[in-house]
């Protein structure tokens, strides 16, 4: 079969820094190409060039063996290339049909031909087995359904190449399954697909061919069959990781740091009891909606709880986040940008935020700036945050992994007894994940208790001493490290399917 899209020596530099250089790649007609690479490897720049958003500074592209030089997104869409983005580009206040036809409403006598739109929309939705009325407002749909609407939009344009960019990040496992079925249908229709994802297992499962980008270059490619996951990782980071997870350096102790008993709040938690000992990493696993993040917020005093007690070092805690922090709790939320960091502020300001009140000296309570700078710089080194001048550089200029280290670092200044980490490796690339695991291990080895929430079971199995499973606001059971069994843990987290 011939190539649908061919890239020849494609390159793009920003201010002399190459984002993509000398990249040659063919996408076979009717195949599924899995494209992987760390953050900053050049995937987005490459996709923007194919999509007509960025003009290449070198090389050329062939589309169906003819020169292809898109000047805008509309050119790409006219050629038959559609993007399904990570952040969905849908208008939540418009209907499904309106979203599908927003780029050109069919008209009859100058008026929008609603009947034609609804009929055509319905037939496309049927093909995707999405059972919603085309007149439904997109805002009422679940993330998974929205994704399908985005695909439907691509189908009405009769796109022959569909590019999925991290399509599963906001989907539940069930919705992901459904997406994969849809992808299979699309392939059966002979459409070509480029699938970009951080979830290597998915890529392996879906792809015919795999291509790996690193530092703007194509470093490895080949058929899926020759591409075990270790090879993907090695190619992505350019070295061996020596396993995905670091060796644990400490042993859990016997004293309980956190003791929560009988936490109950209608509709959120039902009789939840959980213990974290010193030096112990407790993994909390559950699907979306299992109440894991809600439990974290209640433990930290951010949300109310009707019944139950929370003890830290055997002392009962007052309500409210401030009291919990004073008692020695730290909370790294799942949402780094919105709840973890002041993105526009400097790294030093972010690191100092939690502990700042210690630096005010009487009589005027002016901040001791020298001591503050010393402590924040020490924290930067301790966390090995890769940054220049921390008192000038804004935190938003850091990579995801380094941003996450700043969030952990700002708590570390207070030497907390209990760390609650909610999805600490979300949106962080493979190399930085390893560093964060090492950091978590070190926090535990230092005698702190750690409650780590994650939706990646492999990750918890790699770092936790014990995994507690939640479902619908209840604790279903727990597994000590020796008993980790992926299938049993998953089955427990699904409960209703298992029963």
């Amino acid at each position: 079969m011939s190539d649908l899209l061919t890239l020849r020596h494609l390159g793009k530099s920003w201010f002399g820094v190459p984002a993509v250089s000398d990249l040659s790649l063919g996408v076979r007609q009717g195949s599924l190409l899995g494209l992987i690479g760390q953050n900053g490897a050049g995937k987005s720049t490459l996709m923007n060039m194919i999509g007509g958003i960025v003009a290449p500074s070198a090389g050329d592209m062939l589309w169906r063996d003819k020169p292809y030089r898109p000047q805008s997104a509309a050119d790409a869409s006219a050629a038959g290339i559609a993007f399904i983005h990570q952040e969905l580009n849908l208008f939540t206040n418009l209907s499904v049909a309106e979203n599908m036809y927003i780029d050109g409403f069919p008209r009859r006598m100058g008026l929008i031909d609603w009947r034609a739109i609804n009929e055509r929309a319905r037939s496309i939705l049927d093909r995707l087995s999405l059972d919603v009325d085309p007149a439904t407002e997109v805002g009422h749909l679940s993330p998974g359904e929205r994704q399908l609407v985005e695909i439907a939009k691509a189908l009405h344009n009769e796109a022959s190449l569909l590019i999925f960019d991290e399509p599963t990040t906001s989907l539940t496992p069930r919705e992901t399954e459904r997406l994969f079925e849809t992808i299979a249908t699309l392939r059966a229709e002979g459409r070509t697909i480029i699938y970009i994802s951080h979830i290597l297992g998915d890529v392996k499962r879906l792809a015919d061919d795999i291509a790996v980008l690193r530092d703007g270059q194509l470093v490895d490619q080949g058929p899926e069959a020759d591409f075990p996951i270790p090879r993907m990782i090695r190619s992505m980071i350019g070295r061996d990781l020596g396993g995905l997870f670091p060796q644990r350096t400490g042993q859990p102790g016997d004293t309980a740091v956190l003791k929560a008993r009988g936490l109950t709040h209608p509709g959120v938690l039902k009789d939840v009891s959980i213990t974290v000992r010193d030096g112990e990493i407790v993994g909390l696993f559950g699907l979306m909606g299992s109440g894991r993040s809600e439990l974290a917020r209640i433990l930290f005093g951010l949300d109310p709880c009707d019944q139950g007690t929370v003890l830290l070092n055997d002392a009962e805690l007052a309500a409210g986040a401030r009291a919990r922090i004073a008692a020695g709790m730290a909370f790294v939320t799942e949402n780094r940008r919105e709840e973890g960091l002041m993105m526009d502020a400097t790294i030093a300001d972010n690191l100092a935020l939690v502990a700042i009140s210690e630096f005010g000296r009487p009589p005027l309570f002016l901040i001791d700036r020298d001591r503050l700078l010393e402590r924040t710089e020490a924290a930067r080194q301790d966390m090995s945050i890769k940054a220049g001048d921390i008192s000038r550089q804004p935190v938003k200029a850091l990579s995801g992994g380094n941003q996450q280290k700043v969030v952990i670092g700002k708590w570390q200044l207070e030497h907390p007894r209990l760390f609650i980490l909610d999805e600490p490796t979300r949106g962080v690339d493979v190399g930085a994940k390893y560093e964060i695991y090492t950091l978590v291990d070190r926090l535990a080895a230092g005698g702190g208790g750690i409650l780590m929430i994650s939706s990646e079971l492999e990750e918890l199995m790699g770092v936790a001493d014990r995994i507690v499973v939640m479902n619908r606001g209840e604790i279903m059971g727990e597994f000590p490290r020796g008993d980790f069994d992926q299938e049993r843990i998953l089955a427990m987290s699904f409960r209703e399917q298992a029963a």
Partner: protein
């Protein structure tokens, strides 16, 4: 289209070696310098100086000592009020009620310490017989009456600030709405309290705080035995000392204390601040109280200069002056980016602007139109600066 492939290699070569160009005066360096200037803390000061330099040849009166004294004396009350507004903008709030606080406190302060009052004018007012009577205000003649009156003014202001802050922080109401309601209510209340009359005949020591000199300068022949009052120019005046001390104290509070860090943190990301243990609600309430207290100091300076408490003080375009001056200084309306020094320069520029427009004999309508345009320019400048900053860090 068919000729394109042939041209491609050439284009590739041209693009791949941008650094091989022959040495020319580097435009990037110049742009970098300009960017440094725009991002500098002193940018608005430079802008003010440039503005004066451009206009001075056309407006000969601009640099006369009398006019400089005039500009300065216009600066101090506005600075006091603007400093408070800066804190509110720093938490991404807005305080529209400052004008009404100025009106309320000027009336109450004046009523408390007026030396005599005219029953013909004031006997219909609700405060007649309560705060003020024929023999002057309630505190008139008492020892420490001046200090007591100022304290009462600040307390009244802080009470209004407390109402604003509590509604914003505890009830999560939008600041715009809350302070708009305060503005309407308290300006009306101030007018009602005096039935729209001014309260004059304030004691000399009160008036001195608004226009008294500490150090003054005389330009002229030494031999004159009798120097006319208008040829002596105040150099350091009471309002200057009051406003500048307030600004310095507030500068330290914002930049050097834990409280100030909390204020900026809330402005940048309230959720992150909350989770990091910042007492968000308490800080918000305090900020609105501070803003109102600063407005009370401004009221003191305004009413002392006028030698009267006036219920319509702080009406009209007063709020435009305050918020305009702060925004021109560079404080962001989106919160988290604020400096008292910026506000100082913003106030300087704004007062200069009004002064020069007056010297040009423009009508007050024309002056306001120009002011509006300048505020728009400042907002655009803020957008431009943010973009510059992003390019630098990115």
């Amino acid at each position: 289209m068919n000729t394109m492939p042939a041209r491609d290699p050439a284009a590739e070569v041209a693009v791949s070696r941008p650094s091989d160009e022959p040495p020319r005066p580097n435009p990037r360096k110049l742009v970098g310098r300009l960017a440094d200037l725009v991002l500098s803390d002193y940018f608005v000061l430079y802008m003010s100086l440039a503005y004066v330099a451009v206009l001075a040849p056309f407006l000969p009166t601009l640099l006369l000592p009398a006019n400089i004294v005039n500009v300065m004396s216009n600066m101090w009350p506005l600075l006091a009020v603007a400093v408070g507004q800066t804190f509110v903008l720093a938490i991404a709030g807005i305080d529209l009620s400052q004008g009404s606080v100025v009106a309320m406190t000027s009336v109450i302060g004046a009523a408390l310490i007026a030396t005599v009052a005219n029953p013909v004018v004031l006997s219909n007012a609700p405060i007649w017989g309560v705060l003020i009577a024929e023999d002057g205000g309630l505190l008139n003649g008492m020892t420490g009456s001046l200090l007591a009156a100022i304290l009462v003014m600040i307390m009244v202001a802080m009470l209004i600030g407390l109402l604003n802050g509590a509604a914003v922080a505890m009830l999560n109401m939008p600041a715009f709405m809350v302070t708009l309601v305060s503005m309407i209510t308290f300006s009306a209340l101030a007018i009602y309290l005096t039935q729209s009359e001014n309260i004059a005949r304030l004691p000399a020591e009160y008036v001195r705080l608004g226009k008294g000199d500490i150090v003054s300068v005389y330009f002229g022949a030494k031999e004159e035995s009798q120097i006319a009052r208008r040829t002596i120019y105040s150099f350091i005046s009471y309002p200057m000392v009051i406003a500048v001390s307030l600004a310095i104290a507030m500068h330290l509070l914002l930049n050097r204390t834990v409280f100030g860090r909390y204020v900026l943190a809330i402005g940048i990301n309230r959720k992150a601040a909350e989770i990091s243990g910042v007492p968000v609600r308490r800080i918000i309430v305090t900020v609105y109280m501070l803003s109102a207290a600063c407005a009370a100091i401004g009221a003191l300076l305004y009413s002392a200069r006028l030698e009267a408490g006036r219920p319509t003080l702080g009406e009209g375009t007063f709020l435009l002056d305050v918020i305009g001056a702060v925004v021109i200084g560079g404080t962001s309306l989106f919160g988290g980016k604020a400096k008292i020094l910026w506000t100082f320069f913003g106030v300087l520029f704004f007062v200069l602007l009004s002064n020069t427009l007056n010297l040009m004999n423009l009508s007050s309508f024309q002056v306001d139109m120009v002011k509006g345009a300048v505020i728009l320019g400042a907002a655009l400048l803020d957008v431009f600066r943010t973009r510059l900053m992003r390019e630098r860090s990115g």
